[in-house]
Amino acid sequence: MATHTEQLTSRPGLADPTAPAAQAAPAVRLRGLTRSFDGRTVLDDVDLDLPAGQLTALLGHSGSGKSTLLRAIAGLDHEVAGSGELSAPDRVSVVFQDSRLLPWRRVLDNVLLGTDGKKAAERGRAALAEVGLAGRERAWPNELSGGEAQRAALARSLVREPELLLADEPFGALDALTRIKMHGLLRELWERHRPSVLLVTHDVDEAIVLADRVLVLDQGRIGLDLTIDRAHPRSYRDPLLGEYRERLLAALGVKEDHAGRQNQENDQ
């Protein structure tokens, strides 16, 4: 607990890269957030601020509670026992691991799900163009590849002009090549629209390449809060990022030699 509060107090310094945003009120504010399933505590008294406009990655083992945290912020956990304070913006979008497109609606209509008003269609088209799916408006979701479907899901989240974008392992089901392309796209979209982003992932490299700040969730608590102070676009092979990788892997309890092997795999 002591180390935990320590990290919290040292936050302003850590959040420097997005300094103007950090000074404003945080987009997401959690105090003493606790969640448990069948008596098993998944989130244990979590305090967390996400500054507006920051791209934060949340790392953790499977079962570490990262999805629970995301779902709590998204307001998707009505049936879960828990306590604590939580404030989040009104306009929240969520991107899931699966694209979750409705198979009976064409791509554009999927993007516009829940979006009303004049020019909605126009905005939908613009969002599709932004993710590189211009011309596929009339396609059925079944006709899209995995990467295209996930792009459409991104467009659906963008069209609502979210203040906060929650992404739950959005690239987890994609092949390695598509994943790299999607990393570029996400970063590009974030730079253009500047929503606050919480990216839940189990991929350390993904977190390092994309995020300005990486949190490690361990046994229901934020075990490490690391600011990645490197200019974008970042290369997957940047040796300076190796230092961050080591620290993150250590926080995740993965041994060094393991890390080396993983590194080689990724370079191939």
Partner: protein, 306 residues
């Protein structure tokens, strides 16, 4: 027709025998009759994995079976192999149909039957859809309706006939009521299970996208349940004809079933066959109509099948 069947048998032997790829191979062997040693690389190409999909649909494939059946029937009749009292020749059946039609009795019987089936079907359809929507979309409705319908389903509907005659009299009402029950059960069961089996991930999506309950039902629950509804609808359509056959043979003064029942008394097998033929045609046509509507409405699914 014969050419298509010939090509089918050709295709099946291709698939079973590893000799495969008939056209290309004959061309290859005629060219390389002397140089058989050039075979190995060719063989490697031939060892294509056997396709497990049934392959392309034959043109008018649904008609091939019935046409073949009638051809056999006609051939057997012409050859004098069939007892004309038991199974009259197809042309006799057609001639009888023509006579009954010009008498005016056939058209009356057909109209009566259509009316019964249509009314019963419409009532059953409405009841099935309303009950399924109520049970599928509200917990109270589910508690009140689902168990009751499941109970109703367990009772063979045709077993209700005696009771319904006592309740509703021997006229049209009981027949229509029975048909409605035969129709509503499969429609209810399939639509209800489709509505309540909606993918939980889509519920979550609707919450995230901020859909109202009404829009959630209209844009996600109903379209998602349509495939299940059509399964029930097709069973219901078939059910309405099934019920009709039985009902019209029990207590009727007109209708196709009545016509057949009368014919039985006079030993007119040709009239019975006319009735069966018309039942068959109606069943086929109504099923095709539902299929057609289904294809239109669920056009998004075609991308999977084609």
């Amino acid at each position: 027709m014969t050419t298509t069947t010939a090509s089918t048998t050709g295709a099946t032997t291709d698939a079973t025998a590893p000799a495969g790829s008939a056209g290309g191979e004959t061309a290859g062997t005629t060219g390389t009759t002397g140089t058989t040693k050039a075979a190995p690389p060719v063989r490697r190409i031939k060892r294509r994995r056997r396709g497990l999909s049934p392959g392309k649909r034959l043109p008018a494939s649904r008609l091939i079976g019935p046409v073949l059946f009638f051809a056999l029937w006609a051939a057997a009749s012409a050859a004098g192999q069939l007892d004309t009292n038991a199974i009259p020749a197809p042309w006799t059946v057609l001639r009888t149909a023509g006579q009954l039609w010009s008498d005016g009795t056939l058209s009356t019987d057909i109209l009566t039957s259509l009316q019964r089936a249509g009314t019963g079907f419409s009532l059953g359809l409405t009841a099935g859809v309303v009950l399924a929507l109520t049970a599928g979309l509200s917990r109270v409705g589910e508690a009140l309706i689902d168990g009751t319908v499941q109970l109703n389903r367990a009772i063979p509907t045709l077993g209700l006939i005696p009771l319904f005659i006592l309740w509703l009299g021997i006229g049209e009402t009981f027949k229509i009521a029975i048909i409605a029950i035969v129709v509503y059960i499969p429609i209810y069961l399939n639509l209800y299970s489709a509505l309540s089996g909606i993918d939980h991930r889509f519920v979550e999506l609707a919450e995230v996208q901020g859909l109202s309950r009404l829009r959630f039902i209209r844009e996600i629950v109903i379209p998602g349940a349509l495939p299940g509804f059509f399964v029930g609808l097709r069973l219901g359509v078939t059910g309405s004809w099934l019920g009709l056959v039985v009902l019209e043979q029990i207590n009727a003064t007109s209708g196709l079933g009545y016509m057949m029942f009368q014919a039985q008394n006079y030993g007119q097998t040709d009239v019975i066959l006319v009735g069966l033929l018309i039942y068959g045609i109606f069943g086929l046509v109504s099923d095709s109509a539902v299929r057609l509507i289904e294809r239109r409405v669920l056009s998004w699914r075609r991308t999977l099948n084609s």
